[in-house]
């Protein structure tokens, strides 16, 4: 579904992504972890081309994301990749419901009434039907992130990307967001999720990718990676994480 082929990216002299060769299968859930600044956000932002790359290819559902293409083609491609940000990025001038309606209506030209019905059922799915008319500033962080997930799902994407979806949240709100993501995984959604929530990764991930300094140093099942990491950097990272 998502395939990285010899992907490299530089910021000046600094190599943020170095020779990335990995793929995410259809229905697979991959958790990406690694120390701060290792390039996790950059990696998943290259999948929908919020970041450009310098060499290599990224295929999404068989389509080369970084090929030369018309703007409309890129917009269509992006509309098929759900993206959830660490800082939610809800549109503050729109109610929760309108946040979810806007893009299906304007990008996919779904009629207002239909978009609204679907938005309501998505808000229901993330447990926020009762708050549909609230504005983002009136919602807690956990609620905002659940609306953001509903907003991404409204485009009916075949895959979802999450960039640390719970790390801006108060601890008591992490669970409600992870529960929604877990539900998606159970429904067979293809996902890449940057997170340091180990128990979540154990439950949900098919594979874990460990990144450091722009490279994927180790991949494996959650049991193997968390149980017996091979790479010394991964061992140090996990022991730091546990001692926090």
């Amino acid at each position: 579904m998502i395939e990285f082929r010899a992907v490299n990216k530089m910021y000046g002299d600094y190599q943020v992504l170095a020779d990335i060769n990995e793929s995410v299968g259809r229905g697979e859930v991959v958790v990406v972890c690694g120390p701060s600044g290792s390039g996790k956000s950059t990696l998943i932002r290259t999948v929908n081309r919020l970041e450009e790359i310098h060499s290599g290819d990224i295929l999404f559902d068989g389509q080369n994301v970084h090929a030369r293409m018309r703007g409309t083609q890129l917009n269509h491609l992006r509309s098929r990749i759900g993206f959830v940000f660490q800082s939610f990025n809800l549109f503050p001038h729109l109610s929760a419901l309108d946040n979810v309606i806007l893009s299906p209506h304007r990008v996919n030209r779904v009629g207002r009434a239909e978009a609204r019905d679907r938005a309501m059922s998505l808000l229901e799915r993330v447990g926020l039907a009762a708050r549909a008319h609230a504005y983002p500033t009136q919602l807690s962080g956990g609620q905002q992130q659940r609306v953001a997930i509903a907003r991404a799902l409204a485009m009916e994407p075949p895959a979802m990307l999450f960039d640390e979806p719970t790390s801006a949240l108060d601890p008591e709100m992490v669970g409600e967001v992870l529960a929604v993501i877990r539900g998606l995984a159970n429904d067979g959604m293809t996902m890449m999720c940057v997170t340091h929530e180990m128990s979540f990764a154990r439950d949900v991930a098919d594979r874990v990718w460990f990144m450091d300094a722009g490279r994927i140093l180790e991949t494996g099942t959650p049991a193997a990676f968390f149980g017996a990491p091979q790479h010394p950097r991964a061992q140090r990272f996990l022991s730091d994480l546990r001692s926090r």
């Binding site: 917009n75 992006r78 509309s79 098929r80 893009s103 996919n108 708050r131 504005y135 807690s140």
Partner: protein, 242 residues
Amino acid sequence: MLASALAIARDNWLLLLVGQYPNGPLGGIAATLMLSVLGIGLAFPLSVLVALARISRWRALRAPATALVYLVRGVPLLMIIFWVYFLFPLLLGTEVPGFTTMVCTLVLYESAFLSEVVRAGIEALPAGQMDAARALGHSYPQAMRFIILPQAIYNMAPSILSQFVSTIKDTTLGYVINVPELTFAASQINNRLLTKPFEVFLILALTYYVVCFSLTQLATWLERRVARRRAGPALVVVAAPS
């Protein structure tokens, strides 16, 4: 002096309010406000376009817009009035009424300033807003129209209102090309009375002050409201059933 100022105001209130109207052109406060409303009203859509051109990634749009803004901001309004006053009739080959000349000048002048306000509003928004819009598949024009501009303009509403207040004061310069606005009306009265300049211009100053002060107060109120909306309500109501 106050008593005689009041007497002058009482005798000339209609002239101050609407000028010679309906026997002559509309003047006085009515003309001043109309000039300002038309000036800002027409300058506003133009300023959004100029702001968009200023932040465009295409040089061909950016360069002329930037040049326009720098040029207009670097020249006194009076110069622009003269340029429009002498150039327009030449270009169009017909006479242009003073009122129209003044509206065109104000649109040109205020759109340069307003465009900087709008641009600041756009650039003050977190980058995550554009990221989210693009990630959902919106085109750049769509992202601007539905996501960026509504927020930028809402946040900038107080500054836009302040610019409106400046515009009211700027209309006084219409006097030099005989646009019959408020200052023109006052100077007509002054010419007729000859001996009461202090009283007449006291009335004039007070009138501008009252109009501009009320609008400034409105801008301040709006500013507080916008700040509150941006920060979110002080107390989050209703524990949400989740």
